[in-house]
């Protein structure tokens, strides 16, 4: 088991480094000068631009720049200081990360709570009105862009309840009730896009398993249908469910960017967009990497969970 975990962690390292290298190289290879990008809106001389390039270390050789950046990722600076506020990037991104992480956690929890029972119900009553409705709603909600859905929701909340997203965010430590009031709508929206994937896979796997020989064997032993479901089918479906939950996590994070913008949550998504529009390049660079690493870590957790729920997975040697 330990070896397997180590192997999985080892796989994350090249991914994180790969992403950081891509981010780093793209920054230099794409048309457009970082110093010029930062100064685009202000009149400046060549000297000022050169001074900025020196200050940012852009005149050093590429590998020195890269190593320096990667090394500072390990410190509280997290790759530099914000050009806008002068704070270390670590402080800014750290605060934002907690908001996004909480939002993602609520979404996943909510989605699992809904998707598993509904998927099970649809699978057991396959072909009925219930099944078709669940499937139809799931497919439909996949076609509604989060952008549009969130605008509509804000509108409805405003019209019906005279509620608009609060300007000030409260963390769960400060005021739990207020925190819940702020987070529930964005989490619902994200769940609407995330849940259908879980629902589909739960239903499909359960249908499969419920028709299998060993489910028949369990029935033959006198086990009731709910018994078969809970004891045999659900554990089996968990494997696929966890896999899909992990695969869709990247999309969930992407959706979080949009929802945070609409609801004014001070999360990583809104942070990175704000930084991009403010040309705060150290923040953009590091925040992009932090998001990537976040998703990678979640996928690691998923893989470990996958190993935990599926007794057939060999920890030592994983065949592709």
């Amino acid at each position: 088991m330990t070896r397997y975990i180590l192997r999985r962690i080892a796989l994350i390292v090249p991914a994180a480094f790969g992403a950081s290298l891509v981010v780093f190289l793209v920054m230099r290879a794409l048309p457009g000068d970082v110093a010029l990008t930062i100064l685009a809106d202000t009149p400046h001389t060549v000297e000022i631009r050169e001074a900025l390039r020196d200050e940012l270390g852009l005149n050093d050789p590429l590998h020195t720049q890269y190593l320096r950046w990667v090394a500072s990722m390990g410190t509280a600076d997290l790759g530099g200081t914000s050009l806008e506020t002068g704070e270390p990037v670590g402080t800014i991104v750290g605060g934002q990360l907690s908001v996004t992480a909480l939002l993602a956690a609520y979404t996943v929890a909510m989605s699992l709570l809904v998707a598993v029972p509904l998927g099970a119900a649809a699978a057991m009553r396959r072909g009925t009105v219930l099944d078709r409705t669940v499937q139809g709603v799931a497919t439909a909600s996949l076609s509604v862009p989060t952008v549009f859905a969130s605008l509509l929701l804000v509108w409805v909340l405003l019209r019906l309840f005279r509620w608009s997203p609060p300007i000030i965010y409260s963390s769960p430590g400060e005021d739990l009730l207020e925190h819940a009031g702020i987070m529930i709508w964005p989490a619902l929206l994200l769940a609407a896009a995330y849940l259908p994937h879980l629902l589909r896979v739960t239903r499909a796997r359960l249908i499969d398993v419920l028709q299998s020989d060993y489910a028949d064997a369990a029935r033959a032993r006198g086990l009731s249908e709910p018994g078969v479901l809970v004891r045999h089918a659900l554990p089996n479906a968990m494997v696929a469910l966890v896999t899909v939950a992990g695969l869709q996590f990247g999309a969930l994070v992407s959706g979080a960017l949009v929802v945070e913008t609409v609801f004014g949550l001070p999360g990583l998504g809104r942070g990175i967009v704000h930084a991009a529009l403010a040309r705060d390049y150290p923040v953009v660079q590091s925040a992009a990497i932090v998001l990537v690493v976040l998703v990678l870590c979640v996928n690691l957790l998923v893989d470990l969970a996958y190993a935990a729920v599926d007794p057939r997975v060999h920890y030592g040697r994983r065949t592709a």
């Binding site: 991914a15 509108w155 949009v258």
Partner: protein, 505 residues
């Protein structure tokens, strides 16, 4: 990442038993797909919608100017005469007061020319009925191209009210000849002479004077400035303000010294409280034009991204599955890594550096969407490789390339085609998300950008529904079209749903 358990062993056996004999009849994959597609309800609806959308997109492509985005959409001067942030014309049914229609009146000849006096006076008259309770949102006069021989013409504009009152809107002299310039002098041919009647200019003074002499009412400068149109199209009766309905006329007079001095064109715009089929945004842009333009763009994004990434994913999957060994390992690890990276943050980052260009956005979408397909195709190839068909081909001495192209790829083709349809809506939604974050390509208007500008302007809080709902619904409609087609093809993608039809060749 895990590819386990996706294709059941039964499916593989079916492949084997339903495998083609060496001399097979010619395949017609496109016709087969169409038949399969139109055999299901969702597939039929989706296909119909796609044909409809494509036809509309074609019309848009043919009828729009090439540089619509940069030269028109992103150019506020072009929309200057339009009312800002007003609902569509048909929204009138929701208003009890009655809405003011948007009127654009253009003349290229004067209504009458009076050459009896010392000067030649050309009168251009623009009569219009105004009978709504609301007042027009603006009054703008535009004159293009003055030509004069010696002395510059004097131009003036007057609003003639139904009650006989006349409000002087402006009085100006066209700039005269400069040293070194010779007659005929031409003025304002490139940039028309434009006057917007406003309360803080001469029009305001004239209106205040009129109210004083006609109604004995004292209008403060601030009230005139804020409510110029309201007072210009209203009156005081029994000490109360009320709108004044009837026939108004805007009269332009051009006084010139020579008879062949002329003004090419004059236009009067009475700003409405409703506009066009889809209303306008805060810059006065006709949303109907922007929404229509967004259609071919959305389809192009969806098709381009899905075609390229399907091609890439398939090629890598075939290579990975058939080559095996080190190539396989490298491709699979790369797929694992790429599949784990969230696209939107990276897109934001790349757009930040490379600028908002549609091709960069498409490139990134493509670069990150191949792994899923690669993994699936590889799994299928691994199963096919052990089948009798490939074995037979190998024993006949066929080359590796030939086996991949002729004996492996055809079996995966219909699955791949269905996958292509799956990719399209996700690319469209991704672009919409990015545009919404303010990082779309500014030279190409898209639905996401229209949503974004609406959101930034506070359309949701101000109740500008016509600015938010149509672009959102259009994104949904396009996505649903592809989803329905994908649903119609579901039996191809998931053979368990409909028996072994997937493998029919």
């Amino acid at each position: 990442m895990s590819d386990a358990g996706r294709l059941r062993p039964e499916a593989e056996e079916r492949t084997v038993t339903a495998g083609r004999r060496p001399a097979a009849p010619r395949r017609r994959p496109v016709r087969d797909l169409l038949r399969q597609l139109t055999s299901s309800g969702p597939g039929r609806v989706g296909f119909g919608l796609l044909v409809l959308l494509s036809a509309t997109a074609l019309v848009v492509i043919v009828s729009y100017p090439r540089d619509f985005g940069s030269a028109y959409w992103a150019n506020p001067a072009y929309w200057a005469d339009n009312p800002r942030a007003v609902p569509p014309v048909w929204a009138r049914i929701f208003h009890r007061d009655g809405a003011v229609p948007h009127r654009v009146m253009t003349l290229t000849e004067p209504t009458e020319t009076d050459a009896t006096g010392r000067a030649v006076v050309q009168r251009w008259e623009f009569p219009f009925d105004h009978d709504a309770q609301m007042s027009p949102s603006s009054l703008a006069i535009t004159m293009r191209e003055f030509t004069f021989q010696t002395r510059p013409p004097i131009i003036s504009g007057t609003l003639v009210r139904p009650d006989g009152g006349e409000i002087r809107l402006f009085r100006e002299v066209v700039s005269g000849g400069r040293p070194g310039e010779s007659a005929p002098y031409v003025r304002h041919s490139e940039e028309p002479y434009r006057v917007v009647a406003r309360g803080d200019g001469p029009a305001g003074e004239s209106l205040a004077g009129f109210y004083g002499s006609r109604f004995g009412a004292e209008l403060t400068a601030a009230r005139i400035r804020d409510d110029f149109e309201r007072f210009a199209f209203g009156r005081i009766a029994n000490g109360e303000y009320e709108p004044l309905a009837g026939e108004y006329t805007v009269r332009i007079e051009v006084m010139s010294s020579a008879e062949d001095d002329r003004l090419e064109e004059a236009r009067v715009v009475v700003g409405g409280s409703v506009y066009g089929v889809m209303g306008t945004d805060a810059l006065g842009r006709d949303l109907a034009l922007g929404l229509l333009y967004g259609l071919p763009v959305a389809l192009a994004i969806g098709l381009a991204a899905s075609t390229v990434s399907t091609f890439l994913g398939t090629a890598l999957g075939l290579l990975s599955g058939y080559s095996g060994g080190r190539t396989d390992l490298v491709i699979q690890r790369a797929a694992d890594i790429v599949a784990n990276i969230p696209v939107l943050p990276l897109l934001i980052f790349l757009v930040f550096i490379g600028g908002s260009q549609l091709w960069i956005i498409l490139l990134v979408l493509v670069a990150f969407s191949w792994p899923g397909l690669t993994i699936m195709v590889r799994t299928m190839v691994l199963q096919l490789r052990q089948g009798p068909e490939v074995e037979a081909a190998v024993s006949l001495g066929a080359s590796k390339a030939r086996i991949i192209v002729h004996h492996v790829f055809p079996h995966t083709a219909s699955y791949i085609f269905a996958q292509l349809v799956f990719f399209a809506p996700s690319a469209i939604l991704a672009e919409a998300g990015l545009s919404f974050l303010g990082l779309g390509d500014p030279s190409i208007p898209t639905w996401g950008q229209i949503l974004e500008s609406g959101f930034r302007t506070g359309a949701v809080f101000l109740g500008y529904w016509w600015w938010v709902i149509p672009p959102g619904l259009l994104i949904v409609l396009t996505a649903v079209t592809f989803m329905l087609i994908a649903l119609g093809m579901e039996s191809i993608v998931d053979p368990r749903l409909k028996g072994a039809r997937m493998w029919r060749s």
